[in-house]
Structures are given as structure tokens and as C-alpha cells.
Symmetry: C2
Subunit: 301 residues, 2 copies
């Protein structure tokens, strides 16, 4: 199966620690790389984990707090030094055009970088034959969006045993996969469904960035295979979470449960936690299929 | 003796490597901290080496290439989160007000940060009773300055044996240190020089950022105790150094030699060098009292 996987480059919250770097993730989708958020030091993480910058196509910035975007000028500057910035598109909140773009323009020979500002709302901001990416408005201290990456349905597979049996020439395979029946020389019609097997179901990944816990998120991410949800605090700090517009591990797990997702991963840990097992245990009590994220971990979608 | 020392936070050149972080240094001058340059990831280095952000007073940015300033928004944002940004002054090239300040303003509640833009030239940009900092124009691909930190001459020490012998009351000590002679009850005049011993000579540190090798630098840094000079390349890459407006290790050593400095330290290593011994050996052949800088090293001025 073609890859669709998420590698964690950073899972700290606003204040980085010697243990954790600020938020950034790499999605490897069928060989092309998408980045979500780009906290300070992301380019160093990329080198550390051997990620091929030449395959990076798009960067999605959830909001303009520094721990989600301050690595962008440096990363783009390095791409520029390496002559690799020709195909990069940056999807960023509109305000980023005022506060981030001047620095990028100044430092990155950015004429070949495409800026694609998006507005706060529920919109498809990228789409091709294989995937669609939509934003989902979150509730934080400034405009912030989550992202849902939905693979598009794939064509069915040719069932070689059946095509051989019915004498279907290979030049017909593509039309059959696209739903055309096969007519044998004697006029017999073989329905395309008999000549194919179902494709793997399309996969989906949702990234829920800094936010108060939202019911709307649960309905928007209904049934996704993999959900990343921030879980900055434990439930014992629920009041602090509310004040700072963040989510607790228990709240994230409740969203995963009511959305009936395949698997939940959490991150964006407050620096007050020396280890995050407290957060993990709290989430697993509600949604057992939960895991912590750590720098360098990769999750299949 | 009160401290005057330099700690290296990063010594990479433009492209950071898994081994080296981009440029930043901390000067501990009599308990107050000054920062020179602030490449991406500097705040992480500060945590790693246990540097007390509460003592940081001034940041000097040599030029606006990313590897010398992209850590600034994140550092100031963290200072802001910690409530420590009240006393910070940022000395930066004028263009920084256009390209860096908007991002800092947006992210750092920066109303208490003082921006002190400086123009390209040879000027004193900071001075108090104990130290003066002046800029020195360098020749790079954009406006870039070096900095010289010169301790001011200190008052002489009281020679307790002599003041006891002549019966000088302690309330006179400060006036004697400031050059007033002591008149004994019998009218005898004891010159202040006989009652004091010389203070330690004032110390000086020069930071020479990205530049072509300049004769003017050698005269400007004449006799400094400690000279940091970039040495991006070995002499075998002299042509490349010239093209990119950088200095070779041999050129840096020649400047140290003709300036007759106390000690030379080099850094800003090109990522092409797996280890920097080639650069060190080349420099030491010309100026023996040379050392490499590495992250975490501290040098007394």
C-alpha cells in the first residue's frame, strides 16, 4: 500500500524544553511530503531524522503562535540555499502575509515560494486527484485551524485471475477499473465488478492544533483513521487549560471517543510534565487506543 | 576579578548541521548578560547550558542573515511568556525594523522591549560606566557589523598596608581611588599613587561576524585580549570564501597576528567540514594562540 504516515518532529507546547521541540509534523503521502506547522528548530529535526527536503511540497501552518511557525523563515532559507524552494506552497493564516512574509521575502529569495493564505473557516484549501485538505476552525487565543487530510477513493484493483479467465486484454484494464464492463467476442457482457476487487478504503488524518475542546471537532473528524489532538494539560489542570484555550488529555480522549476515530495520538505537552504518562493514562481510561507522540516517532494512518 | 567571559551557543554557518547550531554567543560581563546574534534554536541552547535569562540585558545582531537572527522572535516570545522582557534592548541593523520587528511585535507583547536600530558604520552604540560597545563595518552580502566590547579603565585598588601605615580613614578611600592625595594631620602630603595599586588593565573582546577579510579590522581590533573571527573555510576554498564574502582560517589568523591580539577563537564553520581540525591547524601555523569554538565552551576575556 502506498505510504500515508505521520512523523513527529516536535511535540512541546509554547515553551520548548531540553526534551521536546515545538510543534511540527511531516506527512508522507504517497511519496510527497507535507509539513504541518514549523516551530523553531524544525530544520534541525528534519536533518536529525533524515527527512528528504527535496520531497517537501506543501507546508500547512495552523496559527501564528511562535511555537507553530518560527521555524519557517529558517527552513525556507535553507531550502533556498539548497536550491529546493521551487515547488513549495505555504498555506498560512491571512495575517501571516503581514507578519511572516516580509522576513521570508528578505531572506529566502522567495520568488519561487507560493504563499496560499487561507481564511478562518471550514474550507478545502488543497485538492488534487489523490487527496483533499480542509481547514476546521478551532477556538484559541488567535485565529487557529485544524487540518483534515482525506485520501480520495482509489480505483479498484484488477483481479488477474478473472481477467485471464475471460481473456481481457491489458489495454482494457484502465477502462474496467473506471467502471466499464467487458464485452467478450461472443457478445457476453462481463460486469466490471466481476473483474476487480475493491481498493483499500481511503485513509484520513486529522490534526487538531491548539484549541479549547470543541464538539464541532468531534463531528468534523468523525471516523478518521488517525486523530492527533493537542493535550497540553492533565484534567487536574482543567482550569488552566480553559484559561489558556487548551485541551486536557481527558477532553481529547472524549472527542476521539465520540468521533469514533481509529486511533488517537496526543502531544503539545506543557513543560510542567516531566514525563507524559499521566496524560497517556488519563486519555487511555476513556479511549484505550491512544498513544503519546515523541520526536522521531512515525504513525501509519 | 569580576567576570568577563564569552560562552558559545552556536558556531555553524548558514546551513546548520546535526553537530553545530547557528551563531549565538553570550557575554557575561560583571554579572549582566549580553547576547551577540541569535540564530534559530538559540533559546534551546540557552536552556541546555543553564544560562539565566533573567540576567539578559542586551542583544546585538550583527546582520540579518537568518543564521544570525532567526532565533530572536522565539527567544523574545519565551522571555515574554516568562515575564522577563522588561529590560531587554535589541541593537539591530536598521532594516531589521522592517523585516523582524513586525513578527516580534505580533508575538511577544513587545511593548517593553526596546529596539535600538544602528546604522552601518563605526559608532559607539552602547556605553555605561563600565563598558563601551562599538560597531565596526564589515564587508558581506548585506550590511553587517562586528562589535568591540571594551571595558572601561577601573579605579586603582587601595593598598591597605600603606593606608594603615599613614593612618588614612576608610571614608577617604573613594576620594583617594579617584586621585585625591591624602594630607596627614601634620600637613604631610601623601600622593594617592603611594596609597594605591594599579587596577587590572581593562579587557576587550571583538566579535567579527561574516565578512571578507579586512585590513581595517586588524587596526580596529589592535591589541584586544580576545578576538572571535569567522573562519568559514580553509585556504583551499579561498575562492569560494571570496565569492560568498567569507574569511578563511589563514586569513583570520593573519588578522589576529597583525592586530597582535591576545588570543584568537574561530567559528562559523562551513558544513562541509566534518571536523574543524583542518581550520585550526591552518590558523595555528600563522597565529599559534588560536582555538576552535564549540557549543557550550566558555572563554575568559
Amino acid at each position: 500500500m502506498e505510504p500515508f504516515k505521520v512523523t513527529i518532529l516536535g511535540c512541546a507546547s509554547a515553551k520548548p524544553t531540553p526534551r521536546h521541540m515545538p510543534t511540527s509534523q511531516i506527512i508522507d503521502f504517497r511519496g510527497n511530503l507535507f509539513m504541518i506547522d514549523c516551530g523553531e528548530g524544525t530544520q534541525i529535526q528534519i536533518m536529525k531524522y533524515g527527512i528528504k527536503l527535496s520531497r517537501l511540497r506543501r507546508i500547512f501552518i495552523s496559527h501564528l503562535h511562535g511555537d507553530h511557525c518560527f521555524g519557517l523563515p529558517g527552513l525556507l532559507s535553507t531550502l533556498s540555499l539548497m536550491g529546493l524552494n521551487g515547488e513549495i506552497t505555504i498555506h498560512l493564516p491571512e495575517e501571516g502575509m503581514r507578519v511572516l512574509k516580509p522576513l521570508i521575502d528578505y531572506s529566502s529569495h522567495a520568488q519561487d515560494i507560493t504563499f496560499a493564505p487561507y481564511s478562518y473557516g471550514n474550507n478545502i484549501i488543497y485538492e488534487d486527484d489523490t487527496i483533499a485538505v480542509n481547514t476546521m476552525p478551532l477556538r484559541h487565543r488567535l485565529p487557529c485551524c485544524g487540518f483534515v487530510f482525506r485520501e480520495k477513493p482509489k480505483l479498484p484493483h484488477i483481479n488477474r485471475a478473472m481477467t485471464d479467465f475471460h481473456g481481457v486484454p491489458t489495454c482494457m484494464f484502465n477502462r474496467i477499473k473506471n467502471g466499464e464492463d467487458f464485452v467478450k467476442p461472443d457478445g457476453t457482457v462481463v460486469p466490471w465488478q466481476r473483474l476487480t476487487t475493491d481498493a483499500e478504503p481511503p485513509r484520513s488524518y486529522a490534526f487538531i492544533s491548539d484549541t479549547l475542546p470543541l464538539k464541532a471537532v468531534a463531528s468534523e473528524v468523525k471516523g478518521v483513521d488517525l486523530l492527533y489532538h493537542e493535550a497540553t494539560f492533565a484534567e487536574s489542570e482543567a482550569e488552566r487549560a480553559k484559561q489558556t484555550c487548551h485541551t486536557t488529555a481527558a477532553q481529547a480522549a472524549n472527542i476521539a471517543k465520540s468521533a469514533d476515530v481509529g486511533r488517537l495520538i496526543i502531544g503539545h505537552y506543557s513543560s510542567r510534565y516531566d514525563e507524559e504518562l499521566e496524560l497517556l493514562n488519563e486519555a487511555r481510561a476513556i479511549f484505550p487506543n491512544t498513544d503519546l507522540t515523541y520526536e522521531g516517532m512515525t504513525f501509519d494512518v
